[in-house]
């Protein structure tokens, strides 16, 4: 064993290592998530210890889910897909494995520093400078490896998945460097970035928003576009549509950042621009979604079939549908000013984020892992455990999202409820909140409890998935040794 295969040169070993690492981080992240859900109900649970405080665990949960689970599984699946679409082996498996090792190192450091309280304090950009550099190194190694493979390809025509992968690798380093205050001090605490206040907020959300589509979204869509025809066994409905989807996404999405600060103290014209482009996002979304529904036509009955072949497709169908829902939320409920006024700052946004990352991209990646893993390890996964995973995860997710979104309506309603007062001395009309903020918190108690129930169902489901994957890898390792 050379460092558990982290220096291996075998075909698909980098993909395997990325996928196995990602599920281990997933297990950690969902346990943290459950602790956070419990803290909403019993705030004194694991209290009075600095590194177990809510404010320290939350960035670990968000960043761990994004850069640990989703990024690593995305990259692992990409490293499996790229050789199949180019017709050549990955340029260097060894470099891929080194990247995986560095990526795990980066995540380990980031978890320790976030728990110790070292943070830049800007959402999605919490990592301090040394960790930012480590991630940049990983990204550039990955970029080099994938570009080398694509440039030496035997397949002349680049399939749509490859466009998304290349796009993601071009865009992400630029977005990351711009958004992460590379001029800050090393600890990040109270460090001075290049800009202050509202300009810093604009930069923060330009980064936070674009990272989501340009890294997670593009890799996710690349994976989606590869597995859609493979799993449904239908040809892709329209390549022209995917071309429209790709270039309009590249155009519209990157102008949307400011819709995170609607009615904020930033320039109004920028908000309007962001809202217009957010609504225009229906074009790339419909390009993808129409392709999805047309390609998946006639295969929806496989959702109810219990077989190894239908297993990944189930996850992909749910993921595709969740992608449709979350992408409709953006232009319809999040961006328009009047609706945003009601839902801004509420759990609607939390629900939207979870619908995208947990509903759409996690389901798509789980579908891909259930397809890739048995082929890479030459060992089937347990169908029984996978069915439990599907049932628990889907039920938990629906409970969780339903309750989060309805609690947002309570929040928005109570915040907007005002009492009108007339000042006889000055003749001014005043609005006073009808309920104190603490009343809003108290009225959300039952919702917090239901959210915790949904979260626990999901966590059990996800842990079943993790056990399934690791058990399959363990069986495969045992079998390999027996063969030697």
């Amino acid at each position: 064993m050379d460092l558990w295969g982290f220096l291996s040169d075998k075909e698909n070993s980098a993909a395997r290592n990325f996928i196995l690492s990602s599920v281990i981080w997933l297990a950690l992240v969902v346990v943290v998530a459950l602790v956070l859900a419990i803290k909403f109900n019993w705030p004194d649970f694991l209290s009075n210890v600095s590194w177990l405080s809510f404010g320290r665990l939350r960035p670990l949960h968000v960043n761990g889910a994004l850069f640990g689970w989703l990024s690593m599984s995305n990259v692992g699946i990409m490293l499996y897909i790229v050789p199949r679409l180019t017709g050549v082996r990955l340029w260097s498996e060894r470099l891929g494995n080194l990247t995986c090792l560095l990526w795990n190192l980066f995540l380990g450091f980031s978890a320790v520093t976030l728990l110790a309280g070292y943070t830049q304090g800007r959402e999605y950009a919490e990592y301090i400078l040394p960790i930012d550099f480590l991630l940049m190194l990983c990204l550039f190694l990955l970029l080099y490896n994938v570009f080398k493979t694509v440039l030496t390809r035997k397949e002349k025509v680049m399939y749509v998945s490859l466009w998304y992968f290349v796009g993601a690798l071009v865009w992400t380093p630029f977005i990351y460097v711009v958004g992460n205050n590379f001029l800050m001090d090393l600890t990040g605490l109270g460090g001075r970035g290049p800009v202050s206040g509202i300009n810093d907020a604009m930069l923060n959300w330009w980064y936070g928003h674009n990272l989501i589509a340009m890294w997670f979204g593009n890799l996710g869509l690349g994976i989606f576009y590869y597995f859609l025809p493979v799993l449904t066994r239908n040809a892709l409905y329209s390549h022209r549509l995917s071309l429209i989807g790709f270039w309009t996404l590249a155009f519209f999405y990157v102008w949307n950042g400011q819709h995170h600060l609607i009615y904020g103290p930033g320039p109004d014209w920028l908000e309007s621009v962001a809202i217009i482009f957010s609504v225009l996002m229906v074009i790339p979304v419909f390009a993808v979604v129409y392709n999805f529904f047309k390609t998946a036509q006639g295969k929806w009955h496989l959702l109810f079939q219990n077989s190894q072949e239908a297993l990944p497709l189930k996850f992909l169908l749910i993921g595709g549908f969740a992608y449709f829902l979350t992408c409709m939320q953006g232009p319809l409920t999040n961006a328009p000013r009047t609706i945003n006024a009601f839902f801004h700052f509420s759990y609607w946004i939390v629900g939207h984020a979870h619908l995208a990352f947990l509903g759409a991209f996690s389901f798509i990646n789980m579908a891909a892992i259930y397809y890739v893993l048995p082929r890479v390890l030459k060992t089937p996964v347990s169908l029984r455990l996978a069915n439990w995973h599907f049932g628990l995860f889907a039920t938990g997710l629906m409970t969780f999202l339903g309750v989060l979104h309805s609690s947002a309506i309570i929040q928005g309603g109570l915040w907007t409820a005002k009492i009108q007062e007339y000042d006889f001395l000055t003749g001014a009309t005043l609005w006073r909140p009808a309920v104190e903020h603490i009343e809003v918190v108290r009225s959300l108690q039952p919702f917090y409890f239901a959210i915790m129930i949904g979260a626990s169902l999901m966590v059990v489901g996800i842990l079943t998935f993790v056990i399934n994957v690791l058990w399959t890898a363990y069986k495969a390792a045992g079998r390999q040794e027996a063969e030697v």
């Binding site: 705030p43 004194d44 009075n48 405080s53 809510f54 404010g55 320290r56 939350r58 960035p59 959402e123 694509v150 680049m158 749509v160 466009w163 290349v166 071009v170 865009w171 630029f174 977005i175 605490l189 109270g190 970035g193 202050s196 206040g197 509202i198 810093d200 604009m202 923060n204 071309l243 790709f246 270039w247 309009t248 590249a250 155009f251 990157v254 102008w255 950042g257 400011q258 009615y263 904020g264 103290p265 320039p267 014209w269 920028l270 006024a341 801004h344 700052f345 509420s346 929040q411 928005g412 907007t416 005002k418 005043l430 609005w431 006073r432 909140p433 903020h437 603490i438 918190v441 108690q445």
Partner: protein, 183 residues
């Protein structure tokens, strides 16, 4: 500024339409520069252009003292920003929370702490609302734990804020100084 913005939108539209109509736009040699150009245009128009606007100063936008800055670092370190916003919007939902936030209010904020979620109340105008002792009680543990704590200033039944009893005396003082500076 608007001319520059329109020109940039025009450039991006041409790139986008060109990409769609020229079927071979997705060869490696065209994809990489095209993609880079798109994002640079968007960066110039939605991040660089707006930050060149002049921000008028406001009475709320004052530099922090040494102690308040330390308190601000603790606010950042403990992740207060995840549950508390620091912006009041000019709409009915935020009416009665205090004066509406202006860009100048945040002139000395490194990093910004505008916030995205209102699990706890907005803190833009917290300073001066309560005594220091109220904050000390509230931050040590926001809820009454023992019978004699019922009705004590700063002990709020039903609050779900974390307890920050692990802060040192100096850190607690600094944090309270910062919170009192939010006016």
């Amino acid at each position: 500024m608007y001319t520059a913005l329109l020109l940039l939108i025009l450039a991006a539209s041409i790139l986008c339409l060109g990409g769609i109509y020229y079927k071979r736009s997705v060869t490696f040699g065209l994809l990489v520069p095209g993609a880079l150009l798109m994002i640079i245009i968007a960066f110039l128009s939605t991040a660089v252009l707006p930050s060149m606007e002049k921000i008028p100063s406001t009475p709320k936008g004052l530099p922090y003292t040494e102690k308040q800055l330390l308190g601000r670092k603790i606010y950042v370190r403990e992740g207060c920003v995840y549950c508390h916003t620091q912006q009041v919007r000019p709409i009915k939902t935020d009416a009665g929370l205090g004066s509406v936030s202006q860009a100048g209010d945040y002139l000395y904020d490194y990093p910004h702490l505008l916030g995205t979620e209102r699990t706890g109340p907005d803190l833009s105008h917290l300073g001066g609302k309560y005594e220091d002792q109220w904050h000390r009680n509230h931050l040590t543990n926001p809820r009454p734990k023992r019978p004699e704590e019922e009705g004590m200033p700063g002990k709020v039944p039903g609050s779900i804020m974390p307890a920050f009893s692990y802060l040192s005396g100096e850190e607690m003082d600094a944090l309270i100084a910062y919170l009192q500076a939010l006016r």
